[in-house]
């Protein structure tokens, strides 16, 4: 009976954790010139363990990424993989499920990383919301300069990302 209780608690916990997560993202890459370059980029991205699947829109240079459940998503790794393929992230829109997440002072924590909302105005966020990363490495200069945003280090651990909703 005790085992069952622990099991139920675990299930409940994992269900809650599963809700508060990144489910998918739309990644637009700049500098892509040909399907061979897109393929190299997609293959580079697919080496990331938290990516479940990628669908490429070759005409818009957009990769629609679905993330694995219960595997933490690391955005810095996404940017790094795109740059390793010889290109740059032009836009990264990710869908985050805010259920069970506490947004405090326009900031929330996810898997050791801190996400600062640059334009949330202390709005209450719940359910799936699309956020755009506005840091250098994720957006064109005009955007990251506007928000003066650069991925920083969280004193605790992980990164500090600046995101717009």
């Amino acid at each position: 009976m005790k085992t069952l209780k622990i099991f139920l608690v675990l299930i409940l916990f994992s269900a809650t954790a599963a809700k508060a997560q990144f489910t998918k993202a739309e990644l637009q890459v700049s500098g892509l010139t040909c399907s061979m370059c897109s393929k190299a980029t997609e293959k580079s991205l697919r080496t990331l363990g938290f990516i479940d699947d990628i669908k490429a829109d070759l005409n818009r240079n957009v990769f629609v990424i679905s993330f694995k459940k219960n595997t933490p998503v690391n955005f810095s790794q996404i940017s790094k993989k795109v740059e390793n393929a010889g290109f740059f992230v032009n836009n990264l829109k990710a869908t985050f499920n805010f259920s069970g997440i506490k947004v405090d002072n326009n900031s929330f924590d996810y898997s050791g990383d801190t996400f600062r909302l640059v334009n949330a105005d202390n709005r209450t966020l719940a359910g799936p919301v699309t956020i755009t990363v506005v840091d250098k490495g994720f957006a064109p200069a005009s955007v990251y300069k506007k928000y003066n945003a650069t991925v920083g280090n969280n004193p605790a651990a992980g990164h500090v990302y600046h995101v717009a909703i």
Partner: protein, 280 residues
């Protein structure tokens, strides 16, 4: 006959490219091609990917001679790529003969990218060690001369059109096997190229498996300063890309002007290239 057909087809393709550039080059918001056949663009291949090229080039007059080369390319980092090439030909001997090899590195120092255009700059260097006799005035590091080369290349991509230009300095050494550069020959040369590439098909990308057809027109020039020796070749090329990783190139060089002694001014080229992504 085959080469005549190939040549007329490619001239046509080159004319078509120029026409397309003039008519539609600026209006189609799709992709562009910079996988040049006779030159390298300023862009590099993806980190930890490998490209393998098997190439045959040659000429028919005064007799049929040809050179085969095997080239391995590696994306060392996002900004650095390296090539190693081995050459075999019957250009200077009766029968096929292993001529030596070359190593090439390219470092991308400039990237100004937006969604469907970019401007890139790179510096490159090449060294070669070759064991052929030296009857020519041309210094060429692709199997003919031992030497080194260094230069810069800039590539601008605008939608379906990619334009690239390079300038380089070449220095010839004595070849291996006791073949010395003749006393009256230039040891230094200037090389320059101007390339245009255009994506003809597909008109609209739907999948990685669509066959890509690219056409190219390239100008390849060399000058031996102080010796009054120079040439400028035009090299039209056609390229097919299958499944986004296998590439077949056809090209033909012919001189616009030439007063430099070289093996042959009229050369065909056929190349197969296979790309492997994320090898390490």
């Amino acid at each position: 006959m085959f080469i005549m057909l190939l040549y007329s087809f490619q001239s046509l393709a080159a004319m078509k490219t120029i026409l397309l550039i003039l008519l539609t080059g600026m209006t189609c918001p799709v992709f562009s091609q910079e996988l040049y056949v006779n030159t390298e663009p300023a862009s590099n291949m993806a980190t930890h990917s490998i490209g393998i090229r098997l190439e045959n080039q040659g000429y028919f007059k005064p007799e049929y001679k040809n050179r085969t080369s095997l080239e391995v390319m590696y994306g060392a980092s996002r900004t650095l790529m390296v090539h190693g090439t081995m050459y075999v030909s019957d250009y200077y001997h009766n029968g096929q003969h292993f001529e030596g090899g070359s190593a090439y590195a390219k470092y991308r120092f400039l990237s100004v990218d937006s969604v469907q255009s970019h401007f890139r700059g790179a510096v490159f260097a090449k060294v070669s060690a070759i064991n052929n006799p030296l009857p020519n005035q041309e210094i060429g590091l692709e199997g003919d001369n031992s030497g080194f080369q260094t230069g810069v290349v800039f590539t601008k991509l605008i939608h379906k059109l990619a334009i690239s230009a390079s300038g380089s300095y070449l220095h010839g050494f004595n070849n291996l096997g006791g073949y010395n550069l003749p006393a009256g020959n230039a040891k230094d040369a200037i090389g320059y190229t101007l390339s245009a590439g255009y994506l003809l098909f597909p008109k609209k990308y739907e999948s990685y498996n669509q066959v890509n057809l690219n056409v190219y027109a390239e100008l390849l020039g060399k000058n031996n300063p102080g010796y009054g020796q120079s040439y400028l070749d035009v090299a039209p090329a056609v390229q097919l890309i299958f499944n986004s990783f296998f590439r077949v190139d056809f090209s033909y060089h012919t001189p616009i002007y030439n007063n430099m002694v070289r093996t042959s001014a009229n050369v065909y080229l056929i190349r197969l290239e296979y790309n492997l992504f994320n090898v390490f």
